[in-house]
């Protein structure tokens, strides 16, 4: 007899007023949103926005102070084992056993998720091929570079029938080439398998391709829409210009005080529109050496919404853990 389906719902993830407090920090402030089935959904936010906290609540490592979270219609607080069976997770920090080989790590994952032996063998080969690690299958994980480890973690999250893939900053600390490859895997995966992907990142250029983007800061959802809609609603076009002399700079600054968003050395960034450019060129056209117009981008959306630029962090937790592993431990473990 077939299992009755869980409460039918078109949403892969449903969050309702999730709040979480660490001591005095409010990490999540009544966050609600839905991720639709088969969607590639990005959670974009600066350091400390609460992205990891949210993902940890979804995979039941943390309990929210209030609110409910549903995975495929299953309440993660009430039925954590069922919910977890459907999730594939790639954490921000590494979580491989680096004494085991690549294949052993995948085998172990398959056993732990109850994947039948034949399917397990087949999936392992498939996923190793997907992330281009087939040649490394019998190497111990400690021999892999951090980019390879990241790819292995993605492969591992796909060994079982994960319906929903959660990736916490899968590309952080990796070179541009590896980052592109990881996104290529995710796209290929979505073409081949019915899967919903929720990915967090603070690289703005990465979310352009996603179906929908949720911008989060200080535990609050600031905006949620398709990249195009976000740009239309909150994007501004900007001009970056370099005045000829100090006096010109002063004059422009004084004249367009309310449009000025940033000043770096002698480069000014002003909020622009078509009328502004015409007027500006008529007045200051001869007093600048360079002018660049930037069309609305998610970068400017973010700037408008948060009043801050997204910046690359210094050493993240992941790199710190890796450094810790290199420093000591290895032989004492």
């Amino acid at each position: 007899m077939a299992q009755p389906d869980p409460a039918p719902s078109a949403d892969a993830i449903h969050l309702n007023a999730i709040s979480k407090r660490y001591g005095r920090t409010l990490a999540l402030d009544a966050v609600s949103f839905n991720v639709r089935d088969q969607e590639l959904f990005a959670l974009l936010g600066p350091n400390g926005a609460g992205k990891t906290t949210l993902l940890h609540i979804l995979c039941t490592i943390l309990r929210p102070d209030s609110g409910t979270a549903l995975i495929d219609g299953i309440d993660v607080a009430k039925n954590p084992l069922e919910a977890r069976q459907r999730l594939g997770i790639v954490f921000q920090e590494p979580s491989l056993d680096d004494r085991l080989t690549v294949r052993e790590n995948l085998e172990l994952h398959g056993l732990v998720y109850g994947v039948p032996r034949k399917l397990r063998r087949q999936r392992i080969e498939e996923m190793l091929a997907l992330v281009e690690l087939s040649d490394w299958a019998s190497k111990p994980v400690r021999a892999l570079s951090s980019g390879m480890k990241r790819r292995l973690e993605i492969a591992r999250a796909l060994i079982h029938d994960s319906r929903i893939l959660l990736l916490d900053e899968p590309t952080v600390g990796l070179d541009a080439q590896t980052r592109d490859r990881i996104w290529a895997y995710l796209r290929r995966l979505r073409a081949e398998r019915d899967i919903t992907v929720l990915v967090t990142t603070h690289y703005i250029e990465e979310v352009e391709d996603c179906d929908r983007v949720c911008i989060i800061d200080s535990g609050k959802v600031l905006a949620l829409d398709t990249p195009e809609a976000l740009k239309r609603a909150h994007g501004q076009s900007l001009v970056r210009l370099t005045p000829t002399a100090e006096a010109d700079l002063e004059a422009i600054t004084a004249r367009y005080q309310d449009r000025l968003t940033a000043r770096k050395g002698n480069e000014l960034t002003l909020v622009s529109d078509d009328a502004f450019i015409t007027a500006f060129l008529a007045e200051f056209g001869t007093r600048i050496t360079a002018l660049k117009v930037e069309v609305p981008s998610l970068e400017t959306v973010f700037l408008t919404l948060t009043g801050r630029e997204l910046r690359d962090r210094a050493a993240g937790a992941r790199e710190q853990t890796l450094a810790f592993g290199k420093r000591g431990g290895e032989h004492t473990r």
Binding site: M1, E82, F91, V112
Partner: protein, 278 residues
């Protein structure tokens, strides 16, 4: 109805499969740890062959010519079961310490978000440690003929059973301690603060005179030492093991089994409660 039963069985199979996978991981990791293997082999050799054989001649019923007590075994035979316990103790605690590494290096997360219950995860860890410790205990058993201990087919299962229970209790103990240590100070702290004190005060390397009554014992040995030995649960475990291997018991052998089983249940429960709390 039928569907519900299938569902239930499928869940159990997932837990059992996971238990097997994580258990296998523990065992595989232990066999790749050459340091642990070397310790497991050299420790019994030092204790049995060097210390045991070296001290053997001094261990007689005579002190300055006056017979104090006569025992029906040699020193080597006497310490042999205790060396098994020592080897089990080291290995168990060493396996348990990997709890700290799993937490530090993130592997624990991978397991915590899997469909396994925490009971399964902990049980796999403890059973893995138990298996490795039991094998290290058997390494000592191989030296039995150097210690003049004939091991019969009847004794062997008894001894192995006791060793397994002891290993389970000690691995649980190691996990309980490891969970209480937030920063890792190395294995040294365990061996110096837990293993060696437990070992030395368990009547493992010197016998409390079996011929004396309790009151007389307290006259011959300092009071505090007798008290320590009597309060140390390991005393009874070693004693039970001695009963199985050299057929000599200072205490009721059932007492030893009772204490080990109780320790298994209590320590594992404490470890489990800790685990569900974090």
């Amino acid at each position: 109805m039928n569907g519900g039963a299938m569902h239930w069985r499928r869940r159990l199979m997932v837990q059992l499969g996971g238990l097997y996978g994580l258990w296998l991981r523990e065992v595989m990791r232990a066999f790749r740890d050459t340091g642990q293997l070397i310790g497991g082999v050299s420790r019994p050799i030092l204790w049995v062959l060097i210390l045991g054989i070296g001290l053997n001649p001094y261990f007689r019923g005579e002190v300055y010519g006056a017979v104090t007590f006569v025992v029906p075994f040699t020193y080597l035979q006497f310490i042999f079961p205790a060396v098994i316990a020592l080897n089990i103790m080291f290995t168990s605690v060493q396996s348990a310490v990997s709890v700290i590494w799993d937490r530090e290096f993130g592997f624990l997360r991978e397991v915590l978000v899997s469909p396994l219950s925490r009971t399964t995860v902990l049980l796999a860890k403890v059973l893995g440690g138990t298996t490795v410790a039991l094998l290290h205990g058997c390494l000592v058993l191989v030296l039995a003929r150097f210690a003049d201990i004939p091991i019969t087919w009847a004794d062997l299962p008894k001894a192995l059973g006791l060793m397994a229970l002891l290993a389970f209790a000690l691995t649980s103990l190691g996990v309980v301690i490891a969970n209480r240590i937030r920063s890792f100070q190395g294995f040294g702290i365990f061996s110096n603060a837990v293993i060696l004190p437990l070992y030395f005060t368990s009547s493992s390397i010197f016998p409390l005179d079996p011929a004396l009554s309790r009151a007389q014992t307290r006259v011959v040995y300092p009071d505090w030492l007798v008290t320590l030995v009597e309060w140390n649960p390991l005393t009874y475990a070693v004693d039970a093991l001695r009963g199985a291997l050299i057929h000599y018991n200072q205490f009721d052998p059932l007492l030893g089994i009772g204490i080990i089983v109780t320790a298994c249940v209590v320590l594992f429960s404490v470890a489990l409660i800790d685990f569900y709390r974090t």
